[in-house]
Symmetry: C2
Subunit: 543 residues, 2 copies
């Protein structure tokens, strides 16, 4: 059977654009000889639609879109993802569904059984789980239609669910499986996904057609990577990552097996962040970005990513020196914008900072210089960057990295400002790797930015290492605590100093209030700050 995999980029709630794109893709697949076109999960309304799903009016728009797409179908069968109303009065009001459209109407509806409700996923918030199992019969073939998580409860050491939908469907003797997914990127996701797909074909001994979406929806970045896997667990087709693509393939006839695409971690993080920035701007309807360029590595990497995502003509760097800024910070920044041929402004924060110092003098008296004055500098910078944003319609890019965000090494309403956090899920040690990757062909980021010791430059001769452990050590502790959910006992067993570990975990927990007000973070790891990590602000656990 000739099957088209439609791996596309949707916009949440933009029914008009999504419908148009789907109808065009059906026509394209038809012209390539497809008998069946498979789209990704909830493509009609976009994924994740979150609490828009609580609006009956939103669901009505989805129904209208389904009717419009159905009306555009003929001989070619289509599988699209959409929310549908649960006709039963009991249970949640919706199903997460795959709809088989053909000959101008909806032929059959399949419901999702396993509803991911962990990390960034909230599906049981909206959907009732499926409990009846049927196949799709098309042109003499029997097809098991599954939706994303439905095939993820196979081959796990610690299964999240007590059932596996394919265990039911396989009894009906399908010829192959189809899976409509919306499976977001993380730097371990491709490997995990291939493991899961393989576990399915090995268990059920039939081929699998897997269709994922691409594109970013604020924090979540979808990488595509749709595949056709034969019953031997070999990849017969592999669609590109981070790109729209429609590919037609013949299921059931052995085709050439392609080599398993291994993804380089830093390369894929780089591609994900570029797409994340690009879609944030395009889906909000903005073109231009502004950022503060400090001379440090974080803002340098963000600038390079932004230039790649938006074009050099659309990114303004603002250098914001103070009395504590070193000359090399300015020189290095200027060298970088020159390399990128992008524009910059230099705006001293000194007059504003001095005005605040004078203003606060009667209240601060002779109290020593401390974090209050440091934050006044950082917030003066935030204010100037937001002035550019407000006057000229730029979106401010936040440059905080994950290590800083974790321990609260940053100023709320200062360097924590921004519409989107580009590096908030990238540890400092990974930021260095990104810089090396950006420089893979030529020195874009000046060598000095990469090699100098990190500093916030908020007081004379300040270094990050004055208040934080070396990032090599810090990032290992943070990873153990945040990604691996290790307890303090297990982290100590890794060989770290006890006082240091206690200090770091305490800093992480004490700064939830700060991260609560941080911009959304482009997610590239299995555990990012934001919607996927929900922590009490006033929690007492571990300090």
């Amino acid at each position: 059977m000739q099957i088209a995999l439609a791996q596309l980029n949707y916009h949440v709630g933009n029914f008009e654009a999504n419908t148009k794109k789907i109808i065009q893709a059906i026509a394209a697949a038809e012209s390539k000889g497809a008998e069946l076109v498979v789209f990704s999960e909830l493509c009609v309304c976009g994924y994740p639609a979150r609490d828009f799903l609580n609006y009956p009016h939103f669901i009505k728009q989805a129904e209208n879109a389904i009717q419009k797409i159905a009306a555009a179908t003929n001989e070619v069968a289509v599988l699209i993802g959409a929310p549908v109303v649960n006709p039963d009065i009991e249970g949640k009001d919706l199903f997460n569904a795959a709809l088989w459209l053909q000959h101008g109407k909806v032929q059959k509806v399949f419901h999702k059984t396993l509803l991911p409700t962990y990390d960034v996923f909230d599906e049981y918030r909206y959907f009732e789980p499926n409990s009846k199992f049927e196949l799709m019969e098309l042109n003499g073939k029997k097809i098991a239609v599954t939706i994303c998580e439905d095939i993820w409860n196979v081959g796990n050491e610690n299964p999240l669910y007590t059932i596996s939908p394919m265990d039911e469907l396989i009894k009906l003797q399908p010829d192959f499986m189809v899976n409509l997914s919306a499976s977001p990127f993380s730097y371990v996701q491709h490997e995990e996904r291939m493991k899961v797909l393989k576990a399915n074909v090995e268990r059920y001994k039939i081929p699998l057609v897997y269709v994922n979406q691409i594109g970013a929806q604020t924090e979540l970045i979808f990488d595509g990577g749709s595949v056709v896997m034969n019953e031997a667990g070999e990849v017969e087709k592999q669609l590109p990552f981070f790109e729209e693509s429609i590919v037609v393939t013949d299921i059931g006839h052995r085709s050439l097996v392609i080599s398993h695409q291994s993804s380089d971690t830093i390369q894929s993080i780089h591609a994900a962040l570029v797409l994340g920035i690009r879609d944030y701007f395009s889906k909000l309807g903005f073109q231009k970005a502004v950022l503060g360029l400090s001379g440090g590595i974080d803002s340098a990497v963000v600038l390079c990513l932004a230039v790649e995502a938006l074009g050099k003509e659309n990114v303004l760097s603002v250098l914001l020196p103070s009395e504590y800024s070193s000359q090399h910070s300015i020189d290095d920044s200027l060298a970088l914008v020159k390399n990128l041929q992008s524009s910059h402004e230099i705006v001293s924060i000194q007059p504003a900072y001095q005005a605040f110092l004078e203003t606060m003098k009667p209240h601060f008296g002779n109290l020593p210089f401390n974090v209050a004055e440091e934050n006044m500098q950082s917030r003066s910078r935030g204010l100037i960057l937001m002035a550019f944003s407000n006057k000229f319609g730029y979106i401010l890019l936040n440059t905080t990295n994950k290590s800083e965000a974790a321990v609260g090494y940053g100023t709320l309403y200062g360097d924590m400002c921004g519409g989107i956090s580009v590096l908030g899920d990238v540890y400092k040690t990974q930021v260095y790797q990104l810089a090396e990757y950006i420089n893979r062909n030529a020195e874009i980021i000046p060598h000095n930015i990469i090699t100098k010791p990190p500093s916030a430059e908020l007081r004379p001769n300040q270094k990050d290492s004055d208040s934080l452990p070396e990032y090599e050590v810090l990032d290992k502790i943070l990873h153990a605590y945040i990604e691996a959910h290790k307890g303090i006992d297990e982290i100590l067993a890794m060989g770290f100093d006890e006082a240091l570990v206690q200090k770091v975990l305490r800093m992480v927990n004490m700064n939830e209030w700060k991260r609560f007000q941080a911009p959304p973070v482009l997610r590239v790891s299995p555990k990012s700050f934001g919607i996927g990590r929900r922590m009490p602000i006033e929690g007492k656990y571990l300090g």
Copy 2:
């Protein structure tokens, strides 16, 4: 049977404090002759513990606490709430449990069946639902032990679940029901709760002992209001709202029926907000608050609430006049702090604002004054307030109301700064009602603050009504959209102007990015901004 209802205030993750409090309550109940002491849901670890529950080390602490509490029990039976490990490898790793402790050990464990996963609740994120039903047998009585949501799927027009646990338990012929709850306040919650409890006793025809916690955990404020309801649906005991209380009652012997306590909406919102502020500070270990006093009604009401919650000696008001501030703003503010006998400072933002204007002049050129300059004023105020906070260890109280937050009428990093948003779930029209309530015995808030037209005073003669509809109209549209989830067609059917409704809904949806970075909001309505309302930032639905 003599049953003690222990309605207490817990601290998430503070096992030491919670354990101590529970053991003391057991002793107190014992001294009052109780045979059974009932605590509230997940009291051992605090509710909601959120993603702390993903840490095996956290669960181990809970286990240790359970053992410690069990060891302190004797003849008196105890029911406590705690997370327990699911011994089955399949399914989620935890149960939300009620543990029967007696004679020094755990006698039996009951699991929660219905896991609320909507609004502010995420329970299926952590817990496997119960599937086996047993009673507790104590001193010749059979008790149906249920946890919170377990009794909420009775008497609903649109049931959220396909089962009701009590339908199973009633077959085992219990003498009465016990319910361990963690049910947060909203201004409709008391009425809803009484309706649900009544539906249960009417359906199952046995008495119900209902124990809720009190206290605030950041956004969520728990009001207690634990009750004993007899099989006729009459309230025999009613514990106080927003206060800790341990009451012993005799179940099965008719006692005096008390009059059903009706709660006044504004009075209960006032009490909730005071508790919300108090617990935010006490659980974070802070005493002192600072806020910007503008001369408007929002900051006036926040100041009064803060003084009641923290004491007049712990609240500093800062007046932050600019060239656009009217004299009455200053005079009214001074009259208010005088009435409250609390302290204030006057800090002009003029020097800082002028410095920013000068700094931006080369970049802004001759572009007209607009929101950029307005925001510079608001952000200069935010910066000064945060300078007080950083230098002296105050927490900044945010004064944004729900109407402003909804339409984005506020400056991010400016007047949207703060550790906690006191009025973020209170519409402007309700803020006026709160002011009247605060003035119920004497004029605390000067009359002029209540009667003058609202203004942000960021340009000459500015009024809120320049850019927004009258709050009487705006709040009705917002309520229809946010609380009632009405679509645009239904809102138009209420009789509002189409262009106006479109503008308002568009403003609500376009400002998700701003609210994303707002402080946590004390929740007093059934649908508050924050964790209970999860909206796409880049969503296109309704603009």
